[in-house]
């Protein structure tokens, strides 16, 4: 039953090593976090400042950019149409792509977690938070990819969206006004949760904002799908 999904998933894995743009998305922040944590030590800086900040940025950027790029490329090159005409169902395709990016990003998150010094129970909580954030990002990215006719078009939409979501958590650290606005973005909430992954206390606001973001993304995706379809 999952034949098509696993086939597309495996195709995607084969493609990853050859697709440098996507590969960079997956590994850039984790690698940067490891390097910065190892090399830069400043007095008064909170523990694992870089790893935590990059984790929130990673959530806002990697899944969103990569899934939008992958879907838009398949639309542009007509490979998606061929899949659909060969009997692949849209949900089978989306499931394969979603799982693929989700898992790869989660692997990146594991590296970020290690760089951030999370261990044991704390690491699991950290990964759970990241998993939820990656999912929200995926939905937004999928909506953009579906709405786009070409990779160019997808990039022109993802860049501003990704900048907002990935930089808000960082800017919010330095500016109170931005911090207040940023509260409505899932990536900021993820950032806040990561900051206290140690004593994992989830507030109503955390959950509400993340769920509301996901719902909005799902609606957007629904509109994009209805308007443009997959093929």
């Amino acid at each position: 039953m999952m034949r098509n999904t696993t086939a597309i998933f495996q195709k995607q894995i084969k493609d990853t090593l050859k697709n440098k743009e996507i590969l960079i998305q997956f590994i850039m922040f984790p690698v940067m976090a490891v390097i910065m944590e190892k090399s830069i030590k400043i007095e008064d800086m909170p523990a694992h400042f870089f790893a935590d900040m990059f984790s929130a940025m990673y959530v806002g950027m990697a899944p969103l950019v990569s899934i939008a790029a992958v879907i838009a490329e398949e639309k542009e090159k007509n490979t998606l149409r061929v899949l659909m005409m060969s009997g692949v169902k849209p949900w089978e395709y989306l499931l394969a792509m979603g799982c693929y990016i989700w898992l790869f990003c989660l692997a990146g998150a594991l590296v970020l977690g290690i760089a951030g010094g999370h261990e044991g129970r704390e690491m699991i909580i950290f990964l759970l938070i990241m998993a939820a954030g990656i999912l929200a990002s995926l939905l937004i990215g999928a909506a953009i990819g579906t709405a786009s006719r070409s990779q160019m078009m997808a990039t022109s939409i993802t860049v501003p969206v990704m900048l907002v979501f990935s930089f808000l958590p960082m800017l919010a650290e330095f500016n109170d006004t931005i911090s207040n606005v940023a509260r409505i973005a899932y990536s900021r909430q993820i950032g806040l949760l990561i900051g206290k992954a140690g004593d994992f206390c989830v507030s109503f606001e955390n959950i509400f904002v993340i769920c509301a973001n996901m719902l909005a993304a799902l609606l957007l995706f629904g509109c994009a799908y209805k308007k443009s379809g997959l093929a």
Partner: protein, 281 residues
């Protein structure tokens, strides 16, 4: 008579522009059908409609007696080759086909088998982006035939190919027919059409202006109906093709003077130039 595809009054408009103005065509089961026409005639548009990639403005299509419906559902198993049809550029030839063996639910070894049939087995590890246009065409064809579809749609399968590669593709098309598939192809190449197709139709300005077996069509346009005899020594004689020439022909033959003898029936190319008032590229 069972038809593989039946088109009734297919109309396609793009905005104000009417590209297809009521196409009626019947494709016999198990035949190779050739749709001919100058570029821009609407051949690709018709294939897109038949394969469910485009919803026609009006008219209906039936496959093996069944209505095609609105979407991709309900179409019989069909193979397709069009040059806008995507391949995964970074993946190898083999990986491209391997994916589709799994989607089609056919054994994995079919991928290598198909690569051998189109002469790409030696390049199976090449990424698609390194392939020439001809190799791409062959890979698309390999993918199209891998699941042994009942109907094959080939949009200009041999355009831009060298004669040897084109001949390989012709051989494969004939093999597919022998297995029982119906083949619908479009082409600019009249020689190809004449050699391969059991029926051809000429699409011109959105309408089918000629239909029939290639031989039939050529004979229909034999306005001159003459015999051309070339004698040893270079002299050419033109005689009308009827009993009044019998004695003369007999005379030449008895004196063993005939180097070549032809009837003046035009080639498909000449017929279609006459009908469209222009050539094919």
């Amino acid at each position: 008579m069972e038809y593989a595809v039946e088109m009734r009054n297919i109309v396609q408009k793009f905005g104000e522009k009417e590209v297809l103005k009521g196409i009626d065509l019947k494709i016999h089961e198990g035949e190779i059908f050739g749709l001919l026409g100058p570029s821009g005639a609407g051949k690709t548009t018709l294939i897109k409609i038949l394969t469910g990639q485009l919803k026609q403005t009006a008219g209906e299509v039936q496959f093996l007696g069944k209505n095609a419906g609105n979407g991709k559902k309900g179409l019989p198993d069909m193979g397709m080759m069009m040059d806008n049809f995507g391949l995964y550029e970074r993946l190898t030839c083999y990986d491209n086909l391997k994916l589709f063996t799994r989607i089609y639910g056919v054994p994995g070894k079919k991928a290598d088998e198909a690569l051998r049939r189109v002469g790409l087995y030696g390049d199976r590890k090449q990424p698609v982006m390194k392939l020439s246009k001809g190799m791409r065409s062959r890979l698309l064809l390999a993918r199209a035939v891998m699941n042994e579809p009942r109907i094959l749609f080939l949009d200009e399968p041999s355009s831009g190919l060298d004669p040897v590669t084109a001949a390989e593709i012709h051989k494969l098309v004939c093999e597919e027919r022998s297995r029982g598939a119906t083949i619908f192809l479009t082409t600019h190449n009249m020689e190809e059409a004449h050699k391969l197709c059991s029926h051809v139709a000429l699409l011109h300005e959105g309408m089918i202006v000629e239909y029939g077996q290639p031989e039939q069509v050529c004979r229909r346009y034999n306005h001159q109906n003459k015999l051309l005899i070339r004698l040893y020594g270079g002299e050419q004689v033109e005689l009308s093709n009827n009993r009044t020439s019998a004695d003369k022909v007999k005379g030449y033959l008895e004196q063993e003077m005939v180097e070549t003898i032809h009837s003046t029936e035009p080639s498909l190319e000449t017929v279609f130039m006459e009908l469209t008032g222009r050539g094919f590229e």
